[in-house]
């Protein structure tokens, strides 16, 4: 039993928790932005996948992971604009449009694998990953236990932490945040005050696309060195759950994502040191089960934005 405690308390576990929660954090923040603006986004899985592919591909072509990251961002943004067009302008049911976007993303990345690499499965490895730019923050990284785990991380991990703070500030203090909230709670109020709900929602989806692009880039060129088909593995949906569990608030969502990261890190560690002799698949299931439990347990605790998932249709005013 003391061995078990040692596993859980090891600084490596905290480090892994933060690292593994990063893609979920990005995607969950994307969900927050979207849902606060009134758009239900289940397309995040697909947007992430597209972001992951293009990060890996551009990173491989140029040999520079930063340009790869840019590629992932642009691809995520472009793909999310398609989703925005479908939901906001064409008024397709958000969930249905999201499902179609996911199907499209799976097909598109498989096709592009053949076009770009001439094979299925896993792409060529990028010559250099973002992991190479691991940054040890001076002084802070010397804090015992916490320091090595939090302040000796890779670039996107830091960026995810910054994003949480930036979004929390956006919602609390900025015009954009206020518009987002109004658009998700009472879109007509925003419209009658002369601010276009369509535009706000487009901006929200675009921002979520960028965040999902970051999540994808993390998966393909920071946490690993190549793109694998279907590598998002349901993280888009886990993020959706983190968003609910975190009460549609950036900080809450971050904590929820950390929880999923912890479950993931714990299962990996438990697997690797072989404390319990069970098939490895049993451990892999933990995050999914944790998601169900979290959603079921926390869904009633907070209130979703009043107009989330509802179509908003005004012609004559607005766009």
């Amino acid at each position: 039993m003391s061995g078990f405690a040692a596993v859980l308390l090891a600084p490596q576990l905290l480090e892994a928790t933060i690292r593994l929660s990063t893609p979920v954090t990005f995607a969950a923040l994307a969900a927050v932005v979207c849902e606060r603006s009134g758009i239900t986004n289940i397309a995040m899985e697909g947007i992430m996948l597209v972001g992951a592919f293009f990060s890996a591909y551009v990173g491989w072509l140029t040999g520079n992971p930063w340009i790869g990251l840019l590629g992932g961002l642009v691809a995520g943004a472009a793909f999310s604009l398609l989703f925005a067009w479908a939901t906001v302008s064409l008024h397709i049911n958000h969930v249905v449009a999201g499902a179609i976007m996911n199907i499209l993303a799976f097909g598109l990345t498989r096709y592009l694998m053949m076009v770009c690499y001439g094979r299925q499965g896993t792409s060529e490895a990028v010559p250099l990953t973002l992991d190479h730019y691991r940054l040890r923050v001076p002084l802070l990284s010397n804090i015992p236990y916490l320091g090595s785990a939090v302040f000796n991380q890779t670039p996107l991990v830091y960026l995810s932490l910054i994003s949480v703070a930036a979004l929390a500030w956006t919602f609390a203090r900025t015009r954009f945040g206020l518009s987002l909230t109004a658009s998700g709670e009472h879109p007509m109020a925003l419209e009658t005050l002369g601010r276009s709900v369509y535009r706000v929602r487009y901006q929200a989806v675009l921002l979520s696309g960028l965040l999902c692009g970051l999540a994808g880039a993390f998966l393909s060129i920071e946490n690993s060195n190549s793109f694998t088909e279907g590598m998002t593995n349901g993280r888009g949906f886990i993020a959706l759950a983190a968003n609910i569990a975190g009460g549609w608030q950036p900080v809450g969502v971050f904590l929820a994502s950390l929880f999923f990261g912890l479950v993931d890190a714990a299962q990996l560690r438990a697997q690797s040191i072989g404390l319990i002799h069970l098939p490895s698949e049993i451990f892999l299931v933990f995050p999914y089960i944790a998601t169900i439990v979290a959603v079921a347990g926390l869904v009633r605790k907070s209130r979703p934005p009043a107009a989330v998932g509802k179509d908003f249709n005004v012609e004559g005013g607005g766009d």
Partner: protein, 514 residues
């Protein structure tokens, strides 16, 4: 068109027409509003008042005609441009975000910012300053959903004033207010007018027109049918204009048979509302066979909870509901339906009908368990059709065949579908909530007649309405709901609108006196 004097009117429309497809919502409407003037736009539901206002406010574009501000022709592509020209609108359904604070709601869309960062402290100062200048006191940091309806409306007015509106348009501003709040609102509006703001008030209530405005335009079926100075007209003339004939809403009520034993009784029932606040407190009442008990009260005083409780959508926290001498507090809605409780819900389209369903399917809703419409779990299509044809005939449902979706029917015919469905089950007790909201006069008369017919057949009826006129037209006894308590109860013949109105505002006077 004569141009009067040197100063052009603040706002003027010339021959504004608005079409939606083939429907003409506004036809050739010309109105004029001078500086510091309060005018009223009077008309029944569906007369085209709201459409006209949305045209003025840039939410709709007129199909033809023009809008002039200070004598200058304008064309609004969006509300933003209307706001910029000094128009402010207080919508009937408030355009306020419940989860935001008062300050946030007021500045939304026009925030003081530096680099996207909202200067909340400066904004709050302006809000405080504004509310003091106009005497519209409200806590700038309160969350909107925690405010009363009257205060929320105040925030709406402040919103317009914050944008320096010179023209204030209020759409049905008194619909949800208590008489006391109405008085306050009116004095605020008079003060604003004295300060030079021009005001248009849209309403269908004659008294308000008479007491507030100096001029009145009457709309009927999308057309302007009259313009009068308030000092030169009276309520009767305006009513005539509005309806196009003399209003005859006095239906023959018939005498109530004094019943010894009520069919349905509420015994000291209490329940909590949506946010944990007590919505009904120890409410006791009873309705006997062949009797209509009218529940008067301002919206939001426990009516919704009372409906849910009686039909079985909610359970009481304490107290009991007795039907035919049996405690039914724990029975499900379905069991209560089977026991003979009928329900005509307030929200016709939201909870009365399944809009994409056909008329015959809607008529079968709730009877899809057993004979005659259903046999061993299978629908009997022929019985469904026959049932529909019979009820459509009996209840004069027009505009479509039984196989057509109810969404294509008019409001009146939709309501008739609901009445047909509920009445045909021959309930012993019927709960009717706001049965005529949004209906035209003809349909209202019809609904009243059917309700009285049902009563004559011995059904006990509980009528919930926010329209005092309706309560007095139908009820044998009147009770007033205030703050979740029974504030007053009397036979209709022994009370009057003034007394009931008093209780609607003040609640139980006996307790307050002591």
């Amino acid at each position: 068109m004569k141009v009067s004097g040197a100063v052009p009117p603040v706002l003027e429309t010339r021959g504004v027409t608005k079409r939606f497809g083939r429907i003409v919502a506004n036809h050739d409407i010309s109105i004029r509003l001078e500086k510091g003037e309060i005018i009223a736009l009077l008309g029944e539901n569906g007369a085209g008042k709201s459409t006209l206002m949305n045209v003025l406010f840039g939410l709709y574009r007129p199909s033809s005609g023009s809008i002039l501000i200070d004598g200058e022709e304008v064309s609004f592509a969006s509300p933003r441009e209307a706001i910029a020209k000094g128009l402010g609108m207080v919508h009937q359904h408030f355009m306020l975000v419940p989860t935001l604070t008062v300050t946030q709601n007021i500045i939304l869309g026009d925030e003081p910012v530096i680099l996207g960062h909202v200067l909340y402290r400066a904004a709050r100062r302006r809000v405080v300053e504004l509310s003091e200048r106009y005497g519209l006191h409200v806590d700038p940091d309160a969350r909107l959903e925690d405010l009363s309806v009257g205060l929320q409306q105040r925030v709406e007015i402040l919103k317009a004033l914050y944008r320096e509106a010179r023209v204030l348009i209020l759409d049905e501003p008194t619909a949800v207010l208590t008489p006391l709040e109405v008085e306050e609102l009116f004095s605020v509006l008079r003060r604003l007018a004295e300060g030079g703001t021009s005001i248009i008030i849209i309403t269908h209530k004659l008294e308000e027109v008479m007491s507030l405005s100096s001029r009145v335009y009457v709309l009927r079926r999308g057309e302007l049918v009259g313009e009068r100075r308030t000092s030169e007209t009276d309520a009767a003339e305006l009513a005539n204009f509005m309806v196009g004939r003399d209003v005859v809403l006095s239906v023959e009520r018939g005498e109530a048979v004094a019943a010894p034993e009520p069919i349905l009784r509420l015994e000291a029932v209490s329940v909590r509302g949506a946010r944990g606040i007590p919505a009904l407190r120890g409410l006791s009442l009873g309705v006997g066979p062949g009797e209509i008990l009218g529940i008067a009260g301002v919206e939001g005083n426990g009516q919704a909870e009372l409906c849910d409780l009686v039909v079985g959508l909610a359970r009481p926290d304490s107290g009991r509901i007795v039907f035919h001498g049996r405690d039914i507090s724990a029975l499900s809605l379905k069991r209560r339906m089977e026991a003979g409780i009928g329900y005509v819900p307030q929200d016709r389209r939201g909870s009365g009908l399944v809009l994409p369903f056909s008329v015959e399917e809607n008529l079968a809703l709730g009877s899809c368990e057993g004979p005659p419409l259903c046999r061993r779990g299978f629908l009997d299509f022929r019985a469904l059709r026959e049932n529909a044809l019979r009820l459509m005939e009996d209840y004069d449902i027009r505009g479509a065949g039984p196989e057509v979706s109810v969404s294509t029917l008019s409001g009146g015919n939709q309501q008739k579908v609901i009445l047909a469905r509920e009445f045909s089950r021959k309930p012993d007790f019927l709960l009717v909530a706001q049965p005529t909201r949004g209906l035209d006069v003809g349909a209202i008369e019809y609904v009243y007649r059917r309700i009285l017919q049902l009563k004559a057949g011995g059904t006990a009826i509980l009528l919930i309405s926010m329209e005092l006129e309706e309560i007095f037209a139908l009820s044998d006894r009147i009770a007033v709901l205030h703050g979740g308590e029974l504030a007053f109860e009397a036979p209709t013949s022994r009370t009057n609108e003034i007394e009931v109105g008093e209780h609607m505002i003040r609640g139980r006077t006996d307790r307050r006196a002591s």
